[in-house]
């Protein structure tokens, strides 16, 4: 049978339901016989509830974070205008935020990129 010490180390994950079947039944067996460890389980249930509540109450990651991630990760291009690209390779691309304000625009002339505008701070807030 598990000692009190072994049992108490496992109690958080027992309460969390994250022990394997063997460890879980070893804890359960110990608890039947040990009032002290059973009290620890009750206290841990209380602590877990408060802690989950407190962490959950923290404000979430703002929605705008996705815009920054997609811009950095995929260089998200939300609007693109092809102006006779088959003739002279002229292409105007604009990177927009979801609210529609331009962040960056550049012109591709014969494969060369010409920046027209860049308002977006790299990775920063816009």
């Amino acid at each position: 049978m598990n000692t009190c010490e072994e049992t108490q180390e496992l109690i958080p994950w027992y309460v969390e339901g994250r022990l394997g079947p063997e460890e879980s039944s070893a804890v359960a067996t110990h608890l039947i016989a040990c009032a002290e460890c059973l009290r620890e389980v009750a206290a841990t249930v209380h602590v877990r509830g408060s802690v989950r509540d407190a962490f959950s109450a923290q404000p979430p990651l703002p929605e705008e974070a996705w815009e920054r991630v997609s811009r950095q990760a995929m260089g998200r291009r939300l609007a693109q205008l092809d102006v006779g690209s088959f003739l002279v390779g002229l292409r105007l691309g604009a990177w927009l935020t979801r609210r529609g304000s331009p962040l960056r625009a550049d012109l591709h002339v014969l494969g060369r990129e010409v920046h027209l505008m860049n308002r977006g701070k790299k990775g920063g807030a816009s």
Binding site: Q8, E9, L10, I11, P12, W13, E16, G17, R18, L19, A43, T44, H46, V47, R48, S50, V51, R52, D53, A54, F55, S56, A57, Q58, P59, P60, L61, P62, A65, W66, R68, V69, S70, Q72, A73, M74, G123
Partner: protein
């Protein structure tokens, strides 16, 4: 909208996340968006637990997700997808922490508006209690009770032995139980 889902889900969640990561590695942007929705907020909360600074935590969450996009193909499948992602976030957060460290930072955790409602009062008390734990204990508490992770997975994220995870949790739980009763 984030629902109160068990954050570290079972095998079904892991299968889904692996499939999304494979498609992300192939450049599938909609798969990446789904992966982002499953992980980014959790990564943010984890980073906040380590850094006590919302802006830095945002930065870490964003950086981590960009790395996931770029490095998706390098995932070797030796751990859960979320364990891999949390490991990246932890590395970035601790790196920032080293750079930002200027004396003892005041935890942002207790900069909560005072509110007389009993539920809020007890929440503040809990946040203060969590805030006084050493960082190494705090993250184990977060990963266990918010993320619902096993001690084995936590050992994987932190790169420490399972026994160390258990003992950190043991002391954290003692302090919290004392502060909250």
């Amino acid at each position: 909208m984030r629902t109160e889902r068990r954050t570290d889900g079972g095998e079904g969640d892991e299968r889904t996340e692996r499939a999304l990561l494979v498609r992300t590695a192939e450049g599938d942007e909609s798969a990446f968006r789904l992966l982002y929705d499953r992980l980014a907020d959790r990564v943010f909360r984890y980073a906040f637990t380590l850094l006590h600074d919302r802006h830095l935590a945002e930065e870490v969450a964003q950086e981590t997700m960009v790395i996931v996009w770029k490095q998706a193909a390098t995932f070797e499948g030796r751990s859960k997808v979320s364990t891999w992602v949390f490991g990246i976030a932890r590395f970035r957060a601790l790196d920032l922490l080293r750079k930002e460290k200027r004396g003892d930072r005041v935890p942002e955790l207790d900069l909560v508006e005072p509110d007389p409602a009993p539920a809020v009062e007890s929440r503040e008390r809990t946040l203060r209690a969590i805030g006084t734990l050493p960082e190494e204990q705090r993250e184990v508490v977060f990963l266990t009770f918010y993320e619902g992770r096993s001690y084995g997975e936590i050992a994987g994220i932190l790169g420490i032995p399972e026994g160390t995870v258990k003992s950190r949790m043991y002391y954290a739980r003692r302090s919290l139980a004392e502060a909250l009763t």
